[in-house]
Subunit: 278 residues, 2 copies
């Protein structure tokens, strides 16, 4: 059932969150490229610090494929003015994604508005927000990748928590919207195989890391591939069976472990594990 | 959509986990009863410490309704011998539940066996384990309450993570098996209303607490009702619409807050919040 073993690093991407405690965006581009990694996913705050033109130049000079810009989203808010501000900010995010040639804009859709207990209402706001930016994204040729987040983030980060919800949104919205599948968020889902198959060509990105036992922090204790309990090759096999043939993007938030290591060691570990446990 | 406000404490139950850092089982029985709470849910380790006969006597003397015995479960294991040991232990748990007149035996079904990444396999072991104890439970007249746990516990506590999965298991197993609905575990589920309706008379218990933002610990940072983001009256309304008219059981694991308070204050806070936010 599992996918065939990976034999080289040609489709390995690293999300700069993985080394963000150690490297700036410019350092990460140079560092990854030096170590033979040709895919990168970029965060907007790091892009702003580097400067968009300088980043685009560095990415091109090092032959990097930008597998995503992180991130849009956070649509729900208590007031119409705040929701409009989120929409306006998305148009800028789409322009930034185009400027650096990103393959998609990754969307962490947002959780409950402050003071709200209405998760169904928040989910409606996500649909409204996506609808409001979709035409602009289509015109710009920038695919929007909804990333379902683990249910433990439903309150404060994303109220889209399963592949089924993301697929339902794609059904509603039509072309221009797809899905970022992150094994950390979806590995537990009993409907995962079916919903990955349903997603098919909507799959715009595939993110990897591992679920540690125990997990000591809800946000910043993700594991390196192989150190946890996720059967990554099995999920990769499902994603490939659905037609996905893009990069595999490592995204590890790890305050106590990987963010404290030499970033070269982190990247080399990603490379090793990529060929053995992904 | 929400349920009618609660007007008295006649259906309030407290799970002894809520005061386990402060009170033994005997103290909890006396403490809850003194403060006018007539429902209690009991843990097996506390029951063993107290002695089964003494506990049964105290519960009866104080007119307590035992809304559950916590807990059975933990079916998956690496070896057949370990899985059989879990089954054997369940037969004892069922006998204990009968001895104290519990309304159900609550099952936390277990996660991945040590060293395993096969969550589908773990789920099969859960079905096998339930099948193995069901006849005994039926003969004893003790309902088994499968408790779907939040997906953040899929690896180490329960690989049944949604109401849909619990309903599917009940469909497979037939009479004698039902569901314990805990708002903490299921509040995020986009299919919750539908799956509660589907559960109908299978609902054997209804557990309440709250999801805090931020949540600082995956296990021991549950909130008092009203301090978090769960719309409890709405979920209670769905459970009642499905036909449930039993107790509402407060279960709060809270190492840094409620386990450090005077247990009388904890119980009184449960009583106050019960009439205002549940």
């Amino acid at each position: 059932m599992s996918a065939r073993p990976l034999v080289d690093h040609s489709r390995l991407s690293i999300n700069t969150a993985t080394t963000r405690a150690q490297w700036t965006l410019a350092e990460a581009i140079k560092g990854y490229a030096t170590l033979g990694v040709r895919g990168i996913s970029v965060w907007r705050d790091q892009l702003a610090d580097c400067g968009q033109k300088e980043a685009a130049r560095l990415l091109a000079d090092h032959g990097m494929t930008v597998t995503g810009l992180c991130r849009g989203g956070m649509f729900p808010a208590a007031t119409a003015a705040e929701r409009q501000a989120a929409i306006d900010d998305h148009l800028r995010a789409i322009e930034e994604a185009v400027a650096i040639g990103a393959q998609c804009l990754v969307l962490v859709v947002g959780g409950l508005p402050k003071g709200s207990k209405d998760i169904a209402g928040a989910r409606s706001m996500v649909l409204d927000g996506l609808s409001a930016i979709l035409e602009f994204a289509r015109s710009a040729g920038m695919p929007l990748a909804i990333e379902p987040l683990h249910p433990m983030y439903a309150a404060d980060r994303a109220c889209v928590n399963t592949m089924a919800q993301a697929n339902d949104l794609c059904d509603r919205l039509g072309p221009g919207v797809g899905i970022a599948v992150d094994v950390y968020h979806v590995w537990w889902d009993p409907d995962l195989e079916r919903e990955i198959s349903r997603a098919g060509s909507r799959i715009l990105a595939f993110h990897i890391c591992d679920w540690l036992v125990p997990t000591r922090d809800l946000l910043l204790d993700r594991g390196m591939m192989g150190d946890g309990v996720i059967d990554i090759p099995r999920i990769r096999g499902w994603v490939e069976a659905a037609g996905y043939d893009g990069f595999h993007e490592v995204e590890i938030f790890s305050a106590e472990t990987w963010w404290k290591r030499d970033p070269n060691e982190v990247v080399n570990t990603c490379k090793e594990r990529y060929l053995t446990v992904v």
